[in-house]
Amino acid sequence: MSDQTFMGVPRKDIPWCPEIDYSKCDFCMECDEFCPHGVFERRDDEERKLVVAHPENCVVFCRACGKTCDPDALTFPDKKETTELIKRLREEEAGGDG
């Protein structure tokens, strides 16, 4: 997935993925069961039994897993800032070194 792009920008340059607030997460795994893109990974033997293991798999601007989280433990980056970042990266790409 490392060569994936989103809107012409390398996906790895767009920091869009859920962040787990471990003070709220009750490890019900609803988000992991919901997400078809393999963003989360279960760690049964660790204290943090769920981690965002593959942030680059998260569909930029998608927040659907957050709707499955009853304790509201998932947050996402600011959408406007992300849009602005994508615009800036696209301009840089189009403008080359200049």
């Binding site: 601007f61 659907a64 499955t68 959408k79 849009t83």
Partner: protein, 297 residues
């Protein structure tokens, strides 16, 4: 109860609630269902329905289905989706309570603060929406026939309009005409997500920025947000799709539109979108990649 006669009744409603034993919001969901039953609604017990679905064939085939979820786990919604039931309305008690300033607790007993909110939730569920709120305005703007191109991947055939549509990489489209846009999801989305069973529209009048959620869809397989390709104000939602979400499966680019927006910044939005030809090319690559990941080429 003094105003009982003036409020809408629930004679045509079938309620599928959360089973109500896991936490307080569940109890509230169960209590809401009982209050709707007092107003004439038919109840579907979620546990019995799983065990003996035939018992509910008759009410489910004739009434409008309202699902009440206790929390975001959405067991009742999932049950409805698994059975391919079409919803006409849905309420999530936790979200409804939080929006009214009450946070439901973990203890499954119903507390006074949440109980006090139940009458307003009953009213919300029985609210008769004003037709003008959902009316499609200026439909003649979008009456022109649409031509399509298609391509195949294995047994799947995907259609994309030849022109006049703009797409984001979330596979949502905007058909733009006369300062307005209709927004929906692509043929690729409807085929991947399977049968649509519920469309939760945004509020008419809502201000939307590009990439904001502009409604959500529930299918027999999954749930997804409609990510708006354009900025604007919601001027209409497609009442036909609210009533019959399967229209999105049948005709995703025309009759299956979701919302209509008055555009506010299309010149700027357009820079971030693909036109029909670019999306066709993009989708060919995406569909081929996904097919390879799923079936190994």
């Amino acid at each position: 109860m003094t105003d009982k006669d003036t409020r809408p009744d629930a004679a045509d409603v079938v309620v599928l609630p959360c089973s109500g034993l896991d936490k307080e919001a569940g109890s509230a969901s169960r209590e809401l269902a009982l209050r709707l039953q007092e107003r004439g609604a038919a109840l579907v017990c979620p546990v019995l329905y799983q065990r003996s679905p035939k018992r509910y064939e008759k009410p489910l085939s004739s009434g409008r289905l309202v699902v009440i979820d206790g929390c975001k786990t959405g067991c009742a919604s999932k049950l409805a989706a698994e059975r391919g039931l079409k919803l006409t309305d849905r309420l999530n008690v936790s979200e409804a309570a939080r929006s009214r300033g009450v946070k439901p607790g973990k203890d499954p007993h119903l507390g006074a603060a949440l109980e006090e909110l139940l009458p307003s939730m009953v009213d919300e569920l029985l609210e008769v929406r004003a037709p003008e709120d959902r009316a499609a305005a200026a439909s003649e703007l979008f009456a022109a026939p649409v031509e399509y191109r298609e391509f195949g991947v294995d047994k799947f055939v995907f259609r994309v309009p030849v022109a006049g549509y703009f797409f984001n990489e979330n596979d949502c489209w905007a058909r733009v005409a006369g300062g307005r846009a209709r927004v929906g999801v692509s043929d690729y989305v409807q085929q991947s997500a399977s049968d649509m069973v519920f469309f939760e529209p945004p509020a008419v009048g809502a201000e939307v920025s590009i990439f904001d959620e502009v409604g959500s869809l529930e299918t027999t397989k999954t749930a997804l947000d409609i990510i708006s390709p354009v900025s604007g104000k919601v001027v209409a939602v497609n009442a036909e799709v609210v009533e019959a979400p399967e229209l999105i499966n049948q005709d995703p680019y025309e009759r299956g539109w979701a919302v209509e927006l008055e555009l506010t910044d299309f010149d700027s939005d357009r820079e971030l979108l693909m036109d029909s030809a670019a999306y066709f090319e993009y989708l060919q690559g995406k569909a081929a990649r996904e097919h390879e990941e799923l079936y190994g080429g």
